[in-house]
Amino acid sequence: MSASLAPECNEVKERYDTCFLKWYSEKYLRSNGKTDDNECANLFKDYQKCLKVVLKEKGIDKLIDEAREDTKENDALYIKRK
């Protein structure tokens, strides 16, 4: 797996990434998306708690918000709710 921007988050990120990949290959793809995505939720929460501090420190959080705002129309295009 790849590293985190914040070295102090690497360990928890690795645990989350491993959990996600297992869920993605064994459950998500096999069920055609008809699965809940909760089994890695606690690891994701820990990872985000660590990462968010660093994003804020570096001032990247605001740049991300801008980029998200710029690209939000893609959701309608690619999620394709009826």
Partner: protein, 186 residues
């Protein structure tokens, strides 16, 4: 504005490609040294459509030409915000990216789609639009756009080579897992 387009066929199923895609910038890829970090920011499955939506922040470190560095204030680390959509019913992965760094100087919008050609082959289609934003100076704008198109071309060649390695390693790892599981059953 300049456009860079690229298309590659991988001799792997869409399922294999879509799994390996999450490991693209990991240790199995020795051609992606310019990507130093990949962080997931948000992820959820749309309950209505089953589409998996993921936001990632990709951190790159690549040397830039001296004249560009002086323009952009010397930093060599840059970041890209990527939103991806996995549609398991249609069997597509779509990734839309844009630059977070230097976004008041240049706008880079990239779209990548992975879709199956047949049971054993997957097509990768990449399309990047590069627009320099600084006012007036057409020559500088052209130079910035040309530099980035060249960068895309170089990274595309490395990207294919590196991803082929990841696909081969991923296939081998899954085969080993299956063998282990079979041995335990026996």
């Amino acid at each position: 504005m300049k456009v860079f387009s690229n298309s590659v066929t991988f001799n792997y199923s869409w399922e294999e490609v879509s799994i390996a895609n999450w490991q693209k910038y990991g240790p199995w890829n020795d051609k992606s040294a310019h990507v130093i970090a990949v962080d997931t920011l948000n992820r959820h499955v749309d309950p209505e459509t089953g589409v998996l939506r993921t936001e990632r922040l990709i951190t790159c470190k690549q040397s830039a030409p001296e004249w560009l560095k002086s323009l952009m204030g010397c930093t060599e680390t840059s970041q890209v915000f990527e939103t991806s959509y996995v549609n398991p019913a249609e069997r597509t992965v779509t990734m839309v990216s844009q630059n977070v760094t230097w976004s008041n100087l240049v706008n880079v919008q990239e779209t990548v789609v992975y879709k199956p050609l047949n049971a054993g082959q997957t097509q990768f289609v990449q399309d990047a639009r590069i627009t320099a934003l600084c006012g007036g100076w057409q020559r500088i704008k052209n130079s910035i756009e040309d530099t980035l198109v060249t960068r895309f071309r170089e990274n595309a060649a490395k990207g294919k080579e590196g991803f082929e390695c990841v696909l081969a390693m991923s296939r081998r790892a899954f085969a080993e897992e299956r063998e282990k599981a079979a041995a335990m059953m026996a």
